[in-house]
């Protein structure tokens, strides 16, 4: 083979190799990342559903745990300043509907508490347990 032919073949091999590498691994790496994140979120959601089920919830309900400080107590609503509730809310102050009117009797305004919520989404997540922390 002439030298110039060798050079052309070499360059083509380079280009094809790089292209194949990107197609084979580069794009797949991005897709795998996204799949991984989706799978992780799915696993966490299933874990919450399992917890809810074990504690007597209905089908499709999830259970979230959180820590916070009580700010206001009403028979059907408890307002809590809480840390991030993973899979539900960032750290903020939220009013949660109480599953039963006696729930707020065991705590007072200003108490640090651990609590758990049950529901299918934030819109119907209700406070099911609350205790001094």
């Amino acid at each position: 083979m002439r030298v110039w032919q060798v050079a052309v073949v070499l360059n083509l091999t380079f280009a094809v190799g790089l292209g194949l590498g990107y197609a084979g691994w580069g794009r797949r790496a991005d897709a795998l990342d996204r799949e991984f994140e989706a799978a992780r979120a799915q696993v966490e959601r299933l874990e919450r559903e399992r917890q809810a089920c074990a504690a007597g919830g209905r089908a499709g309900e999830q259970q979230w745990d959180g820590r916070g400080v009580v700010r206001a107590i009403y028979p059907h609503l408890v307002v809590v300043t809480h840390e991030e509730i993973r899979g539900l809310l960032p750290a903020r102050t939220t009013g949660f509907p109480a599953a039963s009117p006696q729930l707020g009797d065991s705590v007072r305004v200003g108490d640090p508490v651990r609590f758990s919520l049950r529901g299918t989404l934030i819109d119907d997540a209700a406070l099911v347990t609350i205790e001094r922390w």
């Binding site: 030298v3 400080v69 700010r71």
Partner: protein
């Protein structure tokens, strides 16, 4: 270990650069039938193969030493598993692999003994070799300091690659050119002089472009990595850069002589021999430059290192021009400088009077500097440009306040006007640090180096800074001054019960903060009013943070349940916040409005005002002040 790393890296860098230059020169010289030229070509190809071996070998040594550094153990250099981990699982490792793969392919390509009589073959061989060598060299930028800059990584890496390729073309070319000229200058090979001279002229033109690209990309690189004069003069990275520039000056001088005097005088044998000698010296100096560049790769970039100012003085451009004497001096100096610039420009145009015009320009510049600069020269110390160890945070300021009142107030008679003055605020934090550490014997101030820890001294500096701003904060009232943000709000930690604490800094760029310092029972009515308005203010972008003057774990309960108070109430760390913000507004109840950028814009002392109106005014502000730094200056 670092010496070994530096040597390996220098050898690798030098050989990679020389490979590019050699093949570039081969291409530039063009195919030739003269026996001298062919002998030179053969010698260059052999030289290229040798360089590749050196590059591959030193590259492997470099990899082994880096593996040892990554792992933190010297034995790791010889463990195959550790080396593979370093190569395959890190970005610098992958770049190393790509580059050495390309070098191996190039070596294989060069190993083919082939017939290059046909022009097409000759061009293909030379271009391919150059392309592979250049690619291997340019990829080095992808794992250099340039790659660590974000955002704008792609551009910075491209500029660095341009710098590397310029070096390859110019430095590598110099060595090859020197060899060609030496071969052609021997009397026995006079047949090839013409070819050598043509090549030298071509190289001179290309070298000019390469030099400009080198210097341009070098300046841009420096701007990215070295952000100010202090970093340039006070850090090892910056000083290496200065050394590089210093070595560059004689190189440029030699290059100018070559171009101006010697090239036109070719092909005379005397000029030829002198050119060979000068090119040789240029090449040697350029190799010194390479070693310095390799050392720069191994040092912390100047923007991240702590500068140590080496001179006893510095220029301070914010010295006020008070006093008519200073103003006259500045005026006179600027006029002289303009005259000097005119003389400089004139010297470019006039051929006969160039030397005297140039001398005159320099003299005028010197006189201008001597007249105009002295008012701007102030004392400087090694720590003048150091970044403070402690951020501008309420705990630091409160701690500094306690230390000040304990150890400094006695001699300073409380907080005197000079400590609160604008001139003290103009001094750099590092200057104050030096003065506190080493004292001022001539004024009777002792050195606190041994009495106070370094962190404590920085606390005192933060306190003095806060003191300076407190004096000016009297001008802040219940009305927001639009486009007038200057009072930096010290950061503080927000503890609400035992939850993970937040900080004032978290609201930067997101929400305004109304800081309410309150005392019960006096503030109860106002807190209730704010609690009722909280929703509206929140929608307008305000977060309210209430800090009781007395620390109490029960603060939330004490505020009562009706109306419910839903904004953050600080239950711990109150003392520091009160001590700090009390400097701006004392009294049992005070409210401060902090904007989204972190500046205090309005203060209500002992009276409460229409918060909403001021919030709306702030929302209407068009030009936003820049974020203040976490550390004082």
């Amino acid at each position: 270990m670092r010496i070994l790393l530096l040597t390996a890296l220098s050898a690798h860098l030098a050989s990679s650069v020389l490979v590019v230059g050699t093949f570039f020169m081969l291409l530039l010289a063009g195919p030739s039938r003269a026996p001298t030229a062919r002998r030179w070509e053969g010698a260059m190809v052999v030289w290229g193969r040798l360089l590749l071996l050196v590059a591959l070998g030193s590259g492997i040594v470099w990899l082994l030493v880096r593996t040892a550094l990554f792992e933190g153990r010297a034995q790791a250099a010889l463990e195959p598993r550790a080396v593979l981990h370093a190569v395959l699982d890190t970005w610098p490792g992958l770049i190393w692999l790509a580059r050495h793969g390309i070098l191996v392919i190039l070596a294989a390509f060069l190993a083919i003994r082939s017939d290059l009589t046909e022009r097409r073959d000759w061009i293909a061989a030379r271009v391919e070799a150059l392309a592979l060598g250049a690619l291997a060299l340019a990829l080095m930028s992808a794992s250099s300091h340039a790659a660590a800059i974000s955002p704008g990584t792609a551009l910075t890496v491209a500029i660095d690659a341009c710098h590397l390729l310029g070096t390859g073309v110019w430095l590598g070319g110099l060595v090859a050119l020197g060899a060609l000229l030496r071969a052609a200058s021997r009397d026995a090979d006079a047949d090839d002089r013409a070819h050598a001279v043509i090549t030298a002229r071509r190289f001179s033109r290309v070298a000019l472009v390469a030099m400009l690209a080198l210097m341009g990309s070098g300046v841009l690189n420096a701007l990215a990595q070295v952000e100010n004069i202090a970093a340039l003069v006070g850090t090892p990275h910056g000083r290496l850069l200065l050394a590089k520039v210093a070595v560059l000056v004689p190189i440029l001088g030699l290059a100018a002589v070559n171009r101006r005097r010697l090239l036109p005088a070719l092909p005379g044998p005397e000029a030829m021999r002198r050119l060979v000698a000068f090119v040789g010296v240029e090449a040697m100096l350029a190799l010194v430059l390479l070693v310095l560049a390799a050392a720069m790769t191994l040092t912390t970039p100047a923007r991240h290192a702590e500068p140590v100012w080496p001179l006893p003085v510095r220029l301070s451009l914010d010295t006020p021009l008070d006093g008519s004497a200073t103003r006259w001096r500045a005026l006179l100096a600027s006029q002289l400088a303009v005259l000097g610039a005119v003389a400089l420009i004139a010297s470019f145009f006039s051929l006969r009077r160039r030397a005297p015009l140039l001398a005159g320009a320099l003299a005028l510049a010197a006189v201008a500097a001597a007249v105009g600069l002295p008012p701007f020269v102030v004392d400087a110390y090694p720590t003048t440009y150091r970044r403070p160890l402690r951020t501008y945070h309420a705990t630091s300021i409160a701690s500094g306040s306690a230390i000040y009142w304990g150890q400094c107030a006695a001699c300073h008679h409380g907080t005197p006007a000079d400590l609160r003055s604008a001139s003290t605020s103009r001094r750099h934090a590092g200057e104050l640090f030096w003065l506190v550490s080493h004292g001022r014997p001539e004024r009777g101030m002792p050195a606190f180096e041994n009495r106070l820890e370094e962190a404590q001294r920085w606390d005192v500096i933060n306190f003095i800074r806060a003191l300076g701003t407190a004096a000016g904060s009297k001008s802040l009232g219940a009305q927001v001054q639009l486009d007038g943000a200057w009072l930096i709000a010290p950061d503080f930690t927000i503890f609400v019960g035992p939850l993970a604490p937040g900080a004032l800094r978290d609201y930067r760029g997101r929400r305004m903060v109304l800081l309410v310092l309150y005392t019960l029972p006096g503030s109860r009515a106002r807190i209730s009013e704010l609690a009722r308005k909280y929703n509206l203010l929140s929608t307008l972008g305000v977060e309210i943070i209430a800090v009781p003057m007395q620390t109490s774990a029960d603060a939330i309960r004490e505020l009562g349940a009706s109306p419910p108070v839903l904004f953050p109430v600080v239950t711990d760390g109150n003392a520091a916040i009160i001590a700090t913000y009390g400097m701006f507004a004392s009294g049992p109840h005070a409210e401060l409005l902090i904007d989204r950028q972190g500046y205090v814009r309005a203060i209500w002392r002992d009276d409460t005002g229409e918060i909403q109106v001021q919030v709306e005014r702030l929302n209407e502000e068009k030009s936003v002040p820049p974020f203040p730094d976490d550390h004082v200056h």
